[in-house]
Amino acid sequence: MELSDSVVRHLRAVVDLPDLSGTRYELEGEIGRGGLGVVYAAVDRQLGRRVAIKVLDGEEEARVIAGLEHPAIVPVYDAGVLPDGRAYYAMKLVSGEGLDRYLRAQPQAGRQGAPAAAARSTGAAAPSIHPAGEVSLSERLRLLQRVGEAVAFAHTRGVLHRDLKPQNVMVGSFGEVYVMDWGVEGVAGTPQFRAPEQAAAGAALDQRADVYALGALLQFLLPAGAPHPLRAIAAKAMAADPGGRYTDVPALLLDLQRFQDGLAVAACPDTWWQQTRRFAVRNQVLLLLLAAFVVVKFFLFFLRWL
């Protein structure tokens, strides 16, 4: 008896499903695959709420995430070992879409560094949460800042992400941002977002590897025609030599904030003309008033001679 391809696919899927018997969870179905594990939707029978279950080969990722309590890091509810020996952890089920899908509603011609990646969702098929074509530059920068804050917080706890990429950033229904798939030792990262030093097996990494990934993420977020200072910030963060990058994530975020405040950024210092122009723009009211004072004085001076 020969089985059809669809039947074989279904059987394979069923075999891969985790056995949650003995846990408090009831499996609903697979909702995504990450680099280190598969994510399923489930129902917590005790609390009557939906959760996301991630099945892994080891418990390290669960311990890493459970130790990070931050608004942009998915909270871990529970962890354990399945009857088949695989580790799992239960976390908040985020209703939203990956950053790459979130931006895909507004295709940008000539966007640099946009990897072709499969969409990933962690909930039921969620519709795009924004009208097409309305992801503004300020919104893109806000998203990056939320990601940066989560990563900076993790660094203060001695945790590196190691695999930052658009697919590992979820944008929720209310615009909240979650950083997912925190990497463990030995994760190679994703080439387009991976620091050069990360490619070497057993390389000693520090927070500048995540700075590189953040710079790549910024480059991914920037639309065509983005201001030069932003591209300079991304380029500085993505310097091949770790010594040439921002020393840490807060330094990168500070430069982004300086750009948004209309100040000069460390990534591309202003020329004297740009400094003068920036001063004039920020103080145009004062300069107009001073000019008015001078004009009045000159007017009165010449009036006396008429």
Partner: protein
């Protein structure tokens, strides 16, 4: 430095500078000393009141309007005492007041609010 002190400092300084430009009017050069003192005091008073206003009202537009009106009124008072040079005194006084109003709104620490 709070807004009142900011207003006093900038007001006195700008008042002094405003008075100093009177040197370009030969008729009044003999009275430079009294002009400088009077103009500085006028600016100081405008700055004091503008600083007080800036503590109460956080609005660049109204700060400038308030201070320029004060500057105009004080300048009118000075011109009335002189009974001469109305335009030469009031017009710069008006603009100086506007500058003081801008500076008190922009600079200086706002008043602390208690809950």
């Amino acid at each position: 430095m709070n807004k009142i002190v900011t207003g006093i400092v900038f007001g006195a300084l700008l008042g002094f500078l405003d008075g100093a430009t009177a040197w370009f009017t030969p008729d009044v050069r003999s009275m430079m000393q009294s002009i400088l003192v009077g103009s500085s005091i006028k600016g100081l008073l405008v700055g004091l009141l503008s600083g007080w206003f800036a503590r109460k009202v956080n609005s660049m537009k109204w700060g400038i309007v308030f201070a320029s009106t004060l500057g105009l009124l004080f300048a009118f008072g000075v011109a009335l005492m002189q009974k001469d040079h109305y335009l030469e005194i009031m017009l710069p006084g008006f603009v100086t007041g506007a500058i003081i109003g801008f500076l008190t709104q922009r600079a200086g620490a706002p008043s602390k609010q208690t809950v």
